[in-house]
């Protein structure tokens, strides 16, 4: 194809490179196979922490979390030890739809995580699964009327999945069918230069069925693969109607692996004396006694030191910050699972992983006052990120009876196994991570990436 004048992005949340490769090899996915043979199926790194809110915000802003400020699905409230849910209002920089709108491009986005409430763009933006009500999901709002008419669901119902797979699967199909109907409708009816649709159901399926698929339980394997075949059909339909001048990128945001055990990390920190709950029965995951807690954790594997002057009632003197953090990291790396193996692959310090806007790489010698800054996207980040071994899914669970538990969840996210395929967007030859994709999408459309984009 010549130089594309527009781009479609199809996000398939949490589809692992290794799983898709395997299904292609087994002949289960003919359209993915054809597309992969033509474009090259590539493995891509995700982000830390490896969770969709961080990963997709990194894609839509083209920046790592230290610049956009989303580090997970929950955060501590600014002035108290209580939880808040970050929404698009917490994203500190413009997203790709805004950048393209400012350049005069017409845009469309549907269901990408952390896009609710949908910002005003030159086109249509439909928020992601944190939106509680279809009446509020779209900008402009009247789009919600159309969505309602086709039975659009903002997300699958995870409560059904917790109850039984037989309840989950019809719900997943219904959600994806309506999403795809909406996608083909907007694709045909709207004028667009950038068109981004997100499928969340793949992540949900992998969370609740991957373990049985990997274990080879035959009925479950069939049902698992049947859903991926459905996805294959939809990709085929999309490729069949793709305009000649349109590039297409198909990508996931992280991989998946079966869960050996969920790990109640806050409970472990309580055991080791680093965190002290507010009472015998904490009311929520951040219900700590700040006067006796040196650190606390947020899911997944995010550690904040309870530093005096930065935290609402911090007790650790700033000059002891690095020492406390190193000691906690040592304790975390010493955690072993029920099988005796290590739970933690590595612990990463804030300045190794994130860096402020305007800075282009890690700064191991970052001065303390800059490291402990509070009022920026970088300042909201964790002081330490715990990266687990595959199979150990990090939770909080301060009051959990056991550190290691198993629930209905069967699959957990992995960092190294996201995927990407592209026709018409030139990607780096060397290995790259999800925040690095965006600038290439913008450049394909002839739009200069913002200066601090990664």
């Amino acid at each position: 194809m010549g130089q594309p004048s527009r781009i479609i992005v199809l996000g398939i949340d949490g589809v692992p490179y290794s799983l898709l490769s395997d299904l292609i090899k087994r002949g289960e996915l003919p359209r993915f196979a054809q597309f992969a043979a033509e474009t090259g199926l590539r493995q891509m790194d995700s982000v830390q922490p490896t969770v969709s809110s961080v990963a997709w915000t990194s894609y839509v802003t083209g920046r790592q979390a230290g610049k956009h400020g989303i580090y997970g699905f929950i955060e501590r409230k600014p002035d108290e030890y209580a939880m808040t849910i970050p929404l698009s209002t917490s994203v500190a920089v413009p997203n790709i739809w805004e950048v393209l709108s400012a350049a005069g491009k017409r845009v469309f986005g549907m269901n990408v995580p952390v896009t609710y409430p949908p910002r005003a763009v030159n086109g249509i933006l439909i928020g992601g699964f944190l939106c509680p009500d279809i009446a509020k999901v779209a900008n402009p709002p009247q789009v919600g009327c159309y969505l309602r008419s086709v039975g659009y669901e903002i997300d699958t119902d995870a409560m059904l999945a917790r109850k039984s797979k037989d309840l989950m699967l019809p719900n997943i199909y219904k959600t994806v069918d309506a999403r795809m109907e909406a996608m083909f409708h907007f694709l045909a009816q709207e004028k667009w230069d950038y068109f981004h649709t997100h499928i969340m159901a793949t992540d949900r399926l992998n969370h609740f069925l991957l373990g049985r698929y990997e274990a080879g339980e035959s009925k479950d394997v069939d049902e698992f693969v049947r859903f991926y075949r459905k996805l294959d059909e939809y990709l085929g339909r999309l490729l069949d109607v793709l305009p000649n001048d349109a590039a297409i990128v198909v990508m996931s945001d992280h991989g998946f692996c079966p869960i050996k055990s969920e790990v109640q990390l806050s409970r472990y920190l309580v055991e080791k004396g680093w965190t002290v709950p507010a009472g015998e029965r904490p009311r929520h995951p951040l219900d700590i006694d700040p006067s006796r807690s040196k650190v606390y954790s947020l899911i997944p594997g995010r550690i904040r030191v309870n530093v005096r002057g930065r935290e609402p009632a911090g007790v650790v003197p700033p000059e002891e910050f690095r020492q406390v953090r190193d000691e906690v990291a040592r304790d975390l790396r010493a955690l072993h699972g029920p099988d005796g193996g290590p739970v933690v692959r590595e612990t990463l310090r804030r300045e190794e992983l994130y860096w402020p806007a305007g800075q282009s790489g890690p700064d191991a010698d970052m001065p303390l006052d800059r490291l402990l800054t509070t009022d920026t996207a970088f300042g909201r980040g964790p002081d330490l990120v715990v990266v687990p071994q595959d199979g150990y899914d990090l939770k909080m669970g301060m009051a959990a009876p056991e550190t290691f538990v198993n629930t209905a969840l069967e699959g957990m996210h992995t960092f190294h196994d996201a995927l990407i395929m592209s026709r018409g967007v030139d990607l780096p030859e060397e290995r790259f991570a999800i925040p690095n994709v965006t600038r290439h999408v913008l450049q394909t459309l002839g739009v200069d990436p913002p200066d601090d984009m990664d």
Binding site: I74, I85, P86, P117, P132, A158, M159, H207, P285, L409
Partner: protein, 75 residues
């Protein structure tokens, strides 16, 4: 614009007298010093629930969203 304050940091609002009497009965033995204290407690709680992300999620919506995140293992 709030109504005129009778004292620094306090503002008078009016509620129906029957409701006032009903609340007086409700708080008997519950540890509140006055109906005013009880009303302030309830309203603070309600306002806190509506405060999530600058009012983008109401108290009920926040509860729903937290439950959703919990079901997914993200909370």
């Amino acid at each position: 614009m709030p109504p005129k304050s009778k004292s620094a940091g306090r503002t008078t609002i009016k509620i129906p007298t029957p409701l006032y009497h009903k609340l007086s009965g409700l708080i008997e033995g519950a540890g509140y010093n006055s109906v005013t204290d009880f009303v302030v407690y309830v309203l603070r709680d309600l306002a806190g629930q509506c405060d999530e992300e600058g009012g983008k999620l109401s108290g009920r919506e926040t509860k729903q969203t937290r439950q959703k995140l919990k079901n997914l293992g993200y909370l």
